[in-house]
Point group: C2
Chain length 193, copies 2
DNA sequence: CTCTTTCTGTACCAATCGGTATGTAATGAT
DNA sequence: ATCATTACATACCGATTGGTACAGAAAGAG
């Protein structure tokens, strides 16, 4: 119809994600974003609407990728126990191969934006809910196959594990001693017994 | 020696704490701070040095108050199990009677500032360590009195509980369904068994 | 009372903030 | 080839950012 975009929106979104992930929402300026996205300022507004809308797009993209990534890792584990171990270990080492102390973008958003904006409260709550359901399903599988005790309450355990995982993600941002968190994770995983 | 301060530094610090607690560090402007502190801009710089130094003072004050508050609550409980229950319940309801979704200022700082500033990484790590030691001592008491099993690893359990408490504090900021977190806390507290 | 010291309040600083108006270049449709 | 449409790039907008210079006011020291 007319002149086409010279940049790839997905690629620009990925670059914006890095900026927001590293600096948080407030500390990321439009100039930070455009320079890392490799686009001009008006292009950002034309393609995404504004800073907040861009962040919403980034967060949606992140949540989708993150959930898919975690689900893949969990499903490829040999047992439920190992799946959970792998999940927590991923948090310690920085899932996605990125810098560990960036944490999870959704967790960061819960802290920075959820209290001030119902949109982000709803979104991050939903993300946490989906993660919980993923773990709950995995636990139920474990009970079905006999790996886990049928006395477990899959929903409650899953919720407890996700809350712990969020706490671990936050804890990692302060660069704690590695052995301390490893021991703590081992302890947390006894919830499966 | 000369003209004395017309405002109370402790009171001004408490007001600044409210601002940082509600809005986070980056989103708090000097104007936000001075208006809530009831002082003029140059007075802030004269008394505290600058925004970052003011925040450091606020954080130190908060950590001291928070640790004392938590220790008091835990020590006044009738049993170790109830002490832990009270501790987690305080996170759910918003310790100190404040708005629950403000969370813990130290946790918020871990997320917002620890990755970018070693000062805050060190400070929040130390805060978490002190909390852990407090819980560890309480657990050891419980083992000594026979309330808790001597098979427990007090240090590991304490670390696991604090990580979960941090996760709970973050979770509350997204205003989750109350019953969900209550069940999760009950599950988390089974780490004491 | 005078002097020195330190506080308060106004007014200001350059820099940056998020967001846009505008002119030009590039494209597809006709 | 022309034209309508859209993207790009520069340059700009008022508002706000963290931080200060400076003048006047208040208080203790002598």
């Amino acid at each position: 119809m007319a002149r086409p975009r010279e940049f790839d929106e997905q690629q620009a979104l990925a670059a914006a994600m890095q900026v927001f992930w590293e600096k948080g929402y407030e500390a990321s300026s439009i100039s930070d974003l455009t320079s890392r996205m490799g686009i001009q300022r008006p292009s950002l507004y034309a393609a995404f609407g504004g800073k907040k809308e861009l962040f919403e797009a980034v967060l949606g993209s992140y949540a989708g990728m993150s959930l898919a990534f975690i689900e893949r890792r969990i499903r490829s584990a040999a047992s439920v126990r190992e799946a959970m171990r792998v999940y927590f270990q991923g948090i310690i080492e920085g899932a996605g191969g990125s810098n560990p102390d960036l944490g999870c973008l959704c967790v960061n958003t819960m802290v920075e934006l959820a209290p001030h904006d119902v949109i982000f409260a709803q979104f991050t709550r939903d993300y946490q809910l989906k993660l919980t359901e993923l773990l709950q399903g995995t636990i139920e599988d474990g009970i079905r196959t006999g790996e886990l005790s049928s006395a477990l309450n899959p929903a409650a355990v899953a919720r407890a594990l996700i809350i712990s995982a969020i706490g671990l993600s936050v804890t990692m941002k302060a660069r704690p001693d590695r052995s301390l968190v490893e021991n703590a994770v081992t302890e947390i995983l006894t919830l499966l017994e």
